[in-house]
Symmetry: C2
Subunit: 457 residues, 2 copies
């Protein structure tokens, strides 16, 4: 299934590759890209590019293609060349990559953002977003982007100024992933963090609001003001410590940490504080993104034109990655980079998922079933005040607190044995994370079963 | 395409799930697993388990299934339910997971290892391997695995003793990934590290050998002894600093750093040093694993029964992950964890790749074509001594040095325009990373073209 030998039509990159590079350059840093590939036509040891050049490939996607392109045994298994030949996207993207990314990720870009970097999971999305913020911050400090000789030599041995003492401000109860950079900003449960070395970075309190929010506006506003004040204090304190805050990272709703909400006002003020102190503002939508709050991004509920400098995503988006403002793009290729930089087979799925969301008006469905779900939870909570409290939610992204951890776990198991699969979060909350096709009648199936479980408890 | 409602046959986990959990327990920590799933039968909002229980799913693989299971629009695109429904493997694996992992990853397990943890890329493989070493080391220090109250409270705010000052010893020129934990052990090029905060961890020199190795055995042995001595010094020094070395990480051949080799003796001594000082020994085979050195794992060339405590992989293995000795398994569930924990669709491909490697005797092919390649490079180097030097390699995992960076890059471009795709590494090396189906006649195609390029230079 191999070709006879190389066959060259143009020099490389040829005109079609150059055109596509320009196109993708509107969306990403393309400094590392060699040329665009035709993975359908590639075979065995030969990689074919979009200008029909056929090259003997002795690099194989940074050494990651084990038995050549489109091996018949793998094609038989998958019948789709996108699934069989995972490209090193940062250097050798497929022809349809700019188009696919435009019709998928860019079609749902947050307000004010036209650039997106694909990654493979929530952790590498956040790690690379942090790196982008550090790079941006250091270049801002330098006043230009030319590192000194000292920068270049010290960074190789993990020392400042090359590896600077910068920090990311995060919130108690936040969860941003489990690789070591992310983990330094994660403060949900001790089991996530115990025994892993970390960074001395500032951690602000996240507002602990009373629910339903409408009934406690005054108390909640006070609590949010307290947290915002603490954020400013920490920024000043860490600057004085010599570990300036390059970026602030926050979830629109703290998910793993127990479904903690805050008001649009809180986030607007926080965004202003970031701006005032020259910190980048990173909204982590790994769990909230993709429609379950009734808007595609949870931050849309804040009603801002310029909600963030970076928005990261994964999970429901199937591919990981992050959107960013132009100035947060790394100034050179290979600074934000890895072997795969995502996976086009996931982009393919995402494009179709977005089509279904639009065709079936799933965001409206989410609003409708979310309202039914929350009202149902309010009723149950009134009925079982000794067990349930603090029902809360946005769209179907809902949660409710249970008396204690033991009761929570027993309710989860009992519901499961009656055919309802739920998840816990925080110390004693149950979180609701249905798919976007969760309709009102599914809500009623759930409420009936959950009612039975509570009645028997 | 949805079911009518839940339908329960057994309590959950049912007998089949329990049996599979036991089976997988031989290979991995299964503490987080809820039950095993039948993803083919799952539809819409309903997840079906291996005991034919059908549950309304309000958790959706930790919130990562956007439009329900087996949505017809996605099935039309992929025609394979494994590709359409990516499970949260750590909690809800598919029925065939233990079997698939046994026939794929375990069938090529390194000597002395019977346990493997799947991950999604080289970086999360290494990050989690480091975490496993830190957890193991701290439990060893404690003498038991029960954290103190102080451990539990300090870890939430990134402070010792909960987040202890432990370190990983790495080597200058090493590359282990780009997330922040990995990056603290990466020392290949400044562009990878500049501006990113790091850890004060010890960095040992990697032997700088003279090639061909056979001709410089005495000089090389001296150089290796120097580096080993330095390793021991650093371990002692960092212990005194209060940042004990929990693990040593090394590549069998430093790849990104310029294809630097060391002798089996060097690695055997290093493994002994790790043992003597109570550090875990982690061999990073992300780039060397999968057959291109002529053995499936490069460390097999060391001829040891007990080569390592941890071996990480990715790239040619298509899925990421790491093998580990029993004692390196985290003591509790959710300590080594993330949403996806790999991707079964990659395992599917890997099983087939391994079949092809065996059926077609590809490791022998690699030995054969590797020998032809290295001999060809020796000849070219004799012919162009002003341009080429230090040809070296194992199997087809070969490299050669070029006079300088500029000449290297111009040779790469000229070879490409003649139809040969090569990669650079280090300051001025060219690396050869063909697929395993690269035969002797491909070597000759390459050598002819490269000869032309050199002649015209
Ligand atoms: S860190 Fe994201 S896939 Fe490995």
């Amino acid at each position: 299934f191999d070709y006879d030998g190389p066959s060259m039509k143009t020099s490389v990159p040829g005109p079609r590759s150059q055109e596509l590079t320009k196109q993708l350059g509107e969306i990403q840093n393309v400094g590392a890209i060699n040329f665009f590939c035709n993975y359908e036509e590639s075979r065995g040891n030969y990689l074919v590019d979009v200008d029909s050049n056929r090259m003997l490939d002795i690099y194989t996607q940074i050494s990651s293609i084990p038995i050549g392109y489109n091996h018949p045994a793998l094609l038989k298994l998958m019948a789709n060349s996108t699934l069989v030949n995972r490209p090193a996207l940062g250097i050798l993207p497929p022809e349809n990559f700019p188009e696919k990314i435009t019709e998928s990720l860019l079609s749902v870009a947050p307000s004010g953002m036209t650039r997106v970097q694909t990654m493979a999971c929530g952790s590498c999305s956040n790690e690379n977003a942090y790196k982008a913020m550090f790079i941006w911050y250091r270049n801002k400090e330098r006043g230009h982007n030319i590192p000194s000789d000292e920068d270049l030599s010290t960074c190789m041995i993990n020392q400042a100024p090359g590896c600077p003492d910068l920090s990311i401000l995060s919130f108690m109860g936040g969860f941003h992933g489990r690789t070591m950079g992310c983990l330094a900003t994660t403060h949900s449960k001790s089991v996530h963090k115990l025994d892993v070395p970390s960074f001395d970075w500032p951690i602000a309190p996240f507002p602990r609001l009373q629910y339903p929010l409408e009934e406690f506006t005054k108390e909640n506003a006070q609590e949010e003001a307290r947290c915002l004040e603490e954020v400013e204090d920490l920024i000043v304190k860490w600057r004085q410590k010599g570990k300036p805050v390059a970026g602030i990272v926050i979830e629109p709703i703290q998910a793993e940490g127990g479904d903690n909400h805050a008001s649009p006002d809180f986030f607007r003020s926080l965004r202003n504080i970031a701006h005032k102190h020259g910190c980048a503002f990173h909204v982590d939508e790994v769990q909230t993104g993709g429609g379950s709050t009734g808007k595609f991004w949870a931050h849309e509920h804040w009603g801002m034109d310029d909600p963030a400098d970076i928005v990261s995503f994964s999970k429901k988006l199937l591919t990981g990655g992050y959107y960013h403002k132009d100035e947060l793009q790394a100034d050179k290729p290979y600074r934000i980079f890895n072997t795969w930089m995502g996976d086009p087979s996931k982009n393919l799925l995402l494009a179709e998922v977005l089509n279904v969301i639009r065709r079936e008006n799933l965001l409206e469905e989410v609003m409708r079933s979310g309202k039914a779900l929350l009202n149902g939870l309010y009723e149950l909570q009134a009925q079982y005040p000794g067990i349930l409290s603090r029902a809360r939610g946005q769209g179907t992204f809902c949660a409710i607190d249970i008396r204690d951890d033991a009761t929570r776990n027993s309710l989860l198991l009992k519901a499961r044995d009656k055919g309802v699969l739920l998840g816990g979060c925080g110390d004693r909350s149950i979180r609701f994370r249905p798919a976007l096709i969760f309709k009102e009648y599914h809500v009623h199936i759930f409420l009936n079963i959950f009612n039975d479980v509570l009645a028997q408890h």
